[in-house]
Symmetry: C2
Subunit: 435 residues, 2 copies
Amino acid sequence: LENRIKQAIVDIVGTSNFTDSLIDLVSYSYDASDHEQRPDAAVWPAKTEDVSKILQVANTYHFPIIPRGAGTGLAGAVVPIHGGLILDMCRMNKILDIRIADRLVRVQPGVVYDDLQNALAPSGFCLYGVTRDYVLSLVIVLPNGRILRTGTDCMKSSSGLDLTRLFVGSEGTLGVITEITLKIIPKPIASKTCQAFFADLQDAGQVVSDIMHSRIVPSVLEILEENAIQILRNHGGMKLPDARAMILVETDGYTKEEADFQMTEVINVLKKNRATRIQVAKSPREAEDLWRGRKALSSAAARLRPNNISEDVTVPISKVPDLLAGISRIARKHGLLFVIFGHAGDGNLHPKIMYDRNNPQQVQKISAAVGEIFHLTCNLGGTLTGEHGIGLAKAPFMLLEHSQTSLDLMSAIKNLVDPNNILNPGKMGLRTGAQ
Amino acid sequence: LENRIKQAIVDIVGTSNFTDSLIDLVSYSYDASDHEQRPDAAVWPAKTEDVSKILQVANTYHFPIIPRGAGTGLAGAVVPIHGGLILDMCRMNKILDIRIADRLVRVQPGVVYDDLQNALAPSGFCLYGVTRDYVLSLVIVLPNGRILRTGTDCMKSSSGLDLTRLFVGSEGTLGVITEITLKIIPKPIASKTCQAFFADLQDAGQVVSDIMHSRIVPSVLEILEENAIQILRNHGGMKLPDARAMILVETDGYTKEEADFQMTEVINVLKKNRATRIQVAKSPREAEDLWRGRKALSSAAARLRPNNISEDVTVPISKVPDLLAGISRIARKHGLLFVIFGHAGDGNLHPKIMYDRNNPQQVQKISAAVGEIFHLTCNLGGTLTGEHGIGLAKAPFMLLEHSQTSLDLMSAIKNLVDPNNILNPGKMGLRTGAQ
């Protein structure tokens, strides 16, 4: 970035909200993935108008803008592979409006999830489920600096093209989101938690399928395979049985009876499928105990090797057993140390593979294994990512899941909205004007 | 349409699936709105490949294609104002796949809602809520004939731009949807229904607001204002009290306790707000009785004059009382005969104005009143349409709700996807290439 450009940015936000110091640039060179690249500078905008002015400068001088949240992403979406200016949204962390009677909340993009839940708690409300399904409207700064308001504060609308969902999940490639209005729902007041073990992975898979056939909508349906159980036994200090799979289920409701009824159904399904050591928590404290293994697992596994990768492949729910078995087969074939856990009720599994980045042979095996896992997932009718996004990590695999027609249309939309390709270039496998 | 074009279409679908007979063209010249225009021909495709071939012909010779469902639309979205070829999807009415374990169903676009609900009923599953929120994936034929698959059969995905929602609600302007995969949910087994009356409209509005502040998620929360009650009394033969508003609430659950608990909360709210004649149904039959007025209302009102228009303006939930009062004020000012009812829990009201099309003075008043209602709605932070869509009816009002930036982007996307403007031209207020 030339000095006159840096000066133009400073003129917008002030000296104290701009940095090009080495230590800051190193911090901004990575997220929670393995990818790394240093930006040229970073800026902390305070409001939509700042963002608009910054984008006008970028669009004039054609340098990359990389919008960044808390940097916790696992797919490298905020790593500035073409350099440019990091737009750190951390100062835009306000809860702008809580409107219970309208069942919505309006926030800035830097707000932290727990802060928002805590702010909603006194009213008995919460966020829940898949975030994108709860986005009602957005304020977005387009690459040319124009400010776009999409959607509505209404619970439903059939008015015009749905621009809101086009921008949600676009990973900063189409615009910079500066305000988000989210639907909120009453927080369930009752819940039941239960844990069970299986000597056979197929039985655990059948539990998932049977629960889906039932009238139950569990709020949690987690699965852990045998490696995960082993690691918790051997390295997490937990007294768990030697089993092929563990399932953790939570049901909830606005009455105790509702949560209880659903749990009774769950237990019937567990028993029918030869579950062993079925434990139902009798108190919130016991529920916390049952959660302990699931919560400790990821870091217990991570400690076994210097590096690890976490995937989040997702399949239609009935394919969870096939995906579990397939991932195990692939990882074993390559002699890799791995665990698999995930949200079976969503078909979303998180295989985690531990390795040493300084061992080139391991790196090669990881790379091969991950490719095979993506092939397997897509062959099962699945998606590359349930939660983490495409970013850099999964960009090379887009055509496994999406057709050329689909990727062409995504790329054409990117070119339409951002003809100079200034917004988070090189992400999500989009082909841009230059090619 | 020239004869060689008609022949090209016949070559694709066969003689028996093409028509240009006057009687058919008259049938296809309108939907359930006031708009009317005759197409040049109509075709009944049987499969995605037929649609693809037809669109290739249209894109070569540049004539309009108007995809059409059952023709029940209230906004004129399927009226062929520029002539062209009606693509009647009625033959594509198959339920392709019911996958309970994956909690989804795959259908063709011509499937009738009740048929689908009936097919799901034996498994205890159903569709529910706002349809667009349940669309997982689509097969779409693009204007150039290319076949696009969007989305995934998974319960969640963060993979690439969300093309699915771009096409849902695009009213046939971007592509022809030929397959739809929808999420399904377990059908609640218990429900409670309750009716109450109010001497003051503000009290009824406060009920809506209080219910929103509670932990209740009513499955139904309908409101009827005084004209609606009068019409049911005077012309519907129903014994209702003389009141300013009526509210109908339904709660449901997967246990009887859940539905009962929520209804108890509702009744508390009703009593607190001075409701009179609170009636809770003790049986499904009594519930049906309570529903009778709401269900009879629309046609009872329609019979009072030769013509009527039905709107579906929607506001943030807390603004329902303001919208109700405002619509009444506008309709009275113009001396129009009207009723208002709607889904208060969604902020969605259906004002219905009865008139005589042959009375030019009435037509002028209607037109003025509708414009004022749209202004009011948008000033309250609302949307032109909760359910019916934009079509022709609301196209002139798009800028009341959407900014120029927003409409520009919608139009640019339309031009990108359909550069020859062959798909349902002239709808939704999109500006197309010619302009």
